[in-house]
């Protein structure tokens, strides 16, 4: 039996023979319905392009002030990092770490990892340790919480709307764009394609 053409469902372990499926089609487990494979068009190129866009937006979102708070003529501008520093200052360092990790470090690491892997892969090259990096990139996925953070922004804006004037700044728009870019980037990523690409080209280019 050639093991390579078979796949076990990650949710119920049922063995499947995976036929060649064309782009736009999906393969689901016939027992529990989990998604097994979903080949996408130009997966590598699209993901790479979106990852680079995302990186630029992420840097912008964290460098520019993102909300202003105007009360009795006083205006207070904040960066995302201000709140994190505030947690740290009020004796909650772990909370500062958690927020920093879920809103900055995890998305940043994911984007950098994708660029690190996909850019050389595009030119049929393999970056050192790419599989280790890719594995960790996939593991980070649940901890990258940009879209949840956006809802948090909305909630706090509504809460403060009665108290003072809230002025959205440049970074908020970067954040909004970033959420869509990140979602599109991960949606166009087809992990199996990356693994397969390595199996096809990897051996040839190794050493």
């Amino acid at each position: 039996m050639k093991v390579g053409s078979f796949m076990a469902c990650h949710d119920c372990d049922l063995l499947h023979r995976i036929p060649v499926i064309s782009e736009g089609m999906t393969a689901s487990c016939r027992r529990c319905g989990a998604l097994l494979a979903k080949p996408k068009q130009n997966s590598l190129e699209r993901t790479l392009a979106l990852a680079i866009t995302g990186l630029i937006l992420l840097v912008m979102a964290n460098s520019f002030p993102f909300l202003g708070f105007k009360l009795h003529g006083q205006v207070q501008h904040t960066l995302l990092l201000t709140g994190i520093r505030q947690f740290y200052a009020s004796g909650m360092p772990w909370l500062a770490v958690l927020v920093l990790f879920t809103t900055v470090i995890a998305p940043l690491a994911q984007l950098l990892a994708l660029i690190y892997i996909l850019l050389p892969l595009k030119f049929q090259r393999r970056s050192p340790g790419m599989f280790y990096v890719f594995r960790w990139m996939l593991r980070l996925q649940p901890w990258s919480m940009m879209e949840v953070f956006m809802v948090g922004i909305l909630v706090s804006m509504v809460k403060l709307a009665k108290m003072a004037e809230i002025l959205p700044d440049v970074a908020v728009f970067c954040f909004m764009a970033l959420i869509f870019v990140l979602a599109a980037c991960l949606a166009s990523l087809d992990p199996h394609r990356v693994w397969e690409h390595w199996e096809k080209n990897g051996c040839r280019h190794q050493h």
Partner: protein, 217 residues
């Protein structure tokens, strides 16, 4: 209903949890199956100590859920008046001021979702321990649900982060974070780990012949 379907485990294969490569299991080795030849992840037929780990994390989360809801999460100073808010009093405040949609978001994300997730996981773990045959497909769906919804509970924590960053005008208007946020964050993080440590394949293992479904130690 399919009877004893062929799974990777019954076929003496191991599916890599990271890259889904099927690897032939060497006979004789029980626990340590080595590393995936393709991606280097440690291979396990089933997640290790899945049931015990999930139970421990569920109980810890239940424990933290209590102070998370009783201890205030924010202290708001407005024109010299100081007011502390718990998660629930925040929801009540939004209802009182007529901001229904917002009240609903906070209630669902911070109170309902963590509790629902813990109850679903408890149910799944018990059903696996009792080797239940009840609707495995729906139970797997419930599991996928807990995986997707958990992260949304962070909304309140992010909202507090922004509030304390924005409102720092001393006696006129000031918002400070209180210890309740720490417990609440602990609940969210622990339940996320609990969902990750549960192995949905255990739900299906009861369908396989007795000798093939020993529990991972």
């Amino acid at each position: 209903m399919p009877t004893s379907a062929l799974t990777a485990k019954t076929a003496s294969l191991v599916s890599c949890t990271a890259c889904h490569l099927l690897v032939r299991k060497h006979t004789g080795t029980t626990d340590s199956l080595g590393q995936c030849p393709r991606c280097g992840a440690t291979l396990h037929s089933r997640k290790r100590n899945s049931i015990a780990r999930t139970w421990a994390l569920i109980l810890a989360a239940f424990l933290f859920y209590i102070p998370a809801n009783l201890i205030p999460i924010t202290k708001i100073t407005s024109m010299g008046v100081v007011k502390t808010d718990t998660i629930m009093s925040g929801v009540i405040y939004f209802i009182a001021t007529g901001l229904w949609p917002l009240a609903l978001i906070i209630f669902v994300a911070s109170i309902f979702v963590p509790l629902l997730k813990l109850l679903i996981l408890t149910f799944l773990v018990i059903s696996v321990q009792r080797r239940s045959n009840w609707r495995p497909k729906d139970r797997t769906r419930l599991y996928r649900l807990t995986e997707t919804i958990g992260r949304w509970s962070m909304v309140d924590i992010f909202a507090v982060t922004i509030l304390i960053a924005l409102v720092q005008l001393g006696a006129i208007a000031n918002i400070e974070a209180q210890k309740g946020v720490v417990f609440f964050a602990a609940v969210v993080v622990i339940t996320m780990f609990a969902a990750m440590s549960f192995d949905p394949r255990l739900i299906w293992d009861t369908k396989e012949p007795e000798d093939a479904c020993e529990y991972p130690a």
